[in-house]
Symmetry: C2
Subunit: 307 residues, 2 copies
């Protein structure tokens, strides 16, 4: 299924699907990233993309490539990943959803499947992405949460965490927090490292068990796009401030100097989840709005969003 450029009556060039008998579907996905080598298809490795492709082939007879709103690294989870693909299937949306979930592995689920217009693009049409990072701050690890948190023993101050990450709001050059060599000074950068952060927030959650001597510190960040390992590197640096080792001013100076070498190692992948992706015309539910104050409707970027 090849996407090609076409011309509408109005003369506006849009991407259309090549095969008239197929339709474009948007998939909203959740997965436990522990056993995946990330989202994107990689030869010989188990990825979200390869499992989706196998399921689509079993249900529709054809292995269809899917395009994701954002990359997720090996071990990173998703609650609200979005993908699109062009399927040729007589099944209506609801039955196609059930058929796919019936053959997908248990660590991957499509929780919504909708037929969309043929020009919908999960990555390019995304206006914002929101990530969640969870820290278990307690003297002892938490076996039930272990797969979804970074366990930190030393005491963390949520006010200091907030003071650090509040500096990220607005448009900045995030080279200091970029992986894959993007933040190395002096290198010729083909890709911009400027992104606009709409909202950041740390939430303190007490686990249900009354004797738990610990709490979950949950970081949320929404931006128009993300650089490789950006969220995990931000969290790694914020934790230095939260534990009192560094100041919020240090955090800001790292950001300003745009040098990846000044920030610490990224936080481990299992704490991270691609939480939500926003599209024009899709209202963000009030629940997220309430949590994240209110991200101003920022501009989008065509670049790859990943973390």
């Amino acid at each position: 299924m090849v996407a090609s450029e076409g011309a509408q009556p109005g003369g506006l060039a849009v991407r259309v699907t090549a095969d008239a008998s197929s339709r474009r579907v948007r998939l909203d996905l959740a997965y436990d990233g522990a056993a995946f080598f990330g989202a994107q298809v990689q030869s010989g490795r188990r990825t979200v993309g390869s499992e989706l492709s196998v399921a689509l082939e079993r249900v529709t007879g054809r292995a269809i490539p899917v395009t994701f709103a954002g990359r997720t690294d090996r071990g990173v989870h998703a609650d609200g990943q979005v993908a699109h693909g062009d399927v040729a299937s007589p099944l209506p949306d609801e039955r196609l959803l059930k058929a796919l979930n019936a053959v997908l592995p248990t660590d991957l689920a499509i929780w919504r499947l909708q037929t969309v217009h043929g020009a919908f693009h999960a990555r390019y049409d995304a206006r914002w992405r929101e990530y969640r990072y969870q820290v278990w701050n307690a003297p002892v690890r938490h076996p039930a949460l272990a797969r979804q948190v970074w366990h930190i023993v030393r005491s963390l101050d949520p006010v200091a965490l907030d003071a650090a990450t509040a500096r990220l709001l607005g448009e900045h050059d995030f080279a200091a927090f970029a992986g894959q060599g993007l933040g190395v000074p002096g290198r010729v950068q083909v890709r911009s490292t400027v992104r606009a952060v709409h909202a950041v927030r740390w939430l303190v959650r007490t686990p249900a068990h009354p004797d738990s001597a610990g709490r979950v510190l949950e970081f949320r960040i929404r931006a128009n796009g993300f650089l490789p390992q950006m969220v995990r590197t931000i969290v790694g640096a914020a934790i230095e401030v939260g534990s009192g080792k560094r100041t919020p001013e240090w955090f800001e100076s790292v950001l300003r100097r745009r040098n990846r070498a000044l920030a610490p190692a990224p936080a481990p992948p299992q704490g991270l989840s691609l939480w939500r992706v926003g599209y024009a015309g899709c209202d963000q539910p009030s629940a997220v709005g309430a949590i994240l104050a209110d991200g101003q409707a920022g501009g989008t970027t065509d670049e790859q969003a990943e973390s």
Copy 2:
């Protein structure tokens, strides 16, 4: 380390530890049951007891048997399991706790270790146990919750669930919900199947993700003791009522007839956790009191508590 009967000056027979150089410790444990063949030591199998024994041997030089407040079956979790053992170690409690957690596997943690009087017995001294069972009620499975819930697609009515399980309150013969042949009519029962339920409650919890078309239905039950598979069989029967297939009166009649054959199969193990164990003199924190209305301080039973 052999426990023997002794006589105190007052003439009261108590269990004392045989070795004066050792001390009795109470361990409060949490574990992810997925990779354990239950709590009790079984030859050649990975159990919570065998992992604890290995850790105690590495830290104290001796493989010490531990006694649990309640058995947990293969695949059943614990948030508040309690155990005791007699350790000979010069380390104070806090350092012993750290040393043990450092060598225990990641799916098992001791979150509290306290030296207790030599007559403390994790099983016999327990006044009540509380279990939690979690159901994910939604059209699509939830990868992040999959290891800790029973996924039920058909819609469940929390009011009907409550109406069914409210019949369990008070002292009853629970043979209808007992595994291991205890509920087979006509058999000579060496063990009583009478237990006193102090509190039951269904909680409806909406997951954090705003687009989740589903909810967690959480069952809590507190009793002086439990029969094998009792909680899981109760949940299996309650779900029949919650889905509208059966009535609360049917549920009550199953209880009254004391015949295991009348109740459905037990709910799967991964939804269950031994949530909390109560002891005389240990106040139950208000959080649990609030959740469970208030279990009247019921009598205890010397029998094995398990589920």
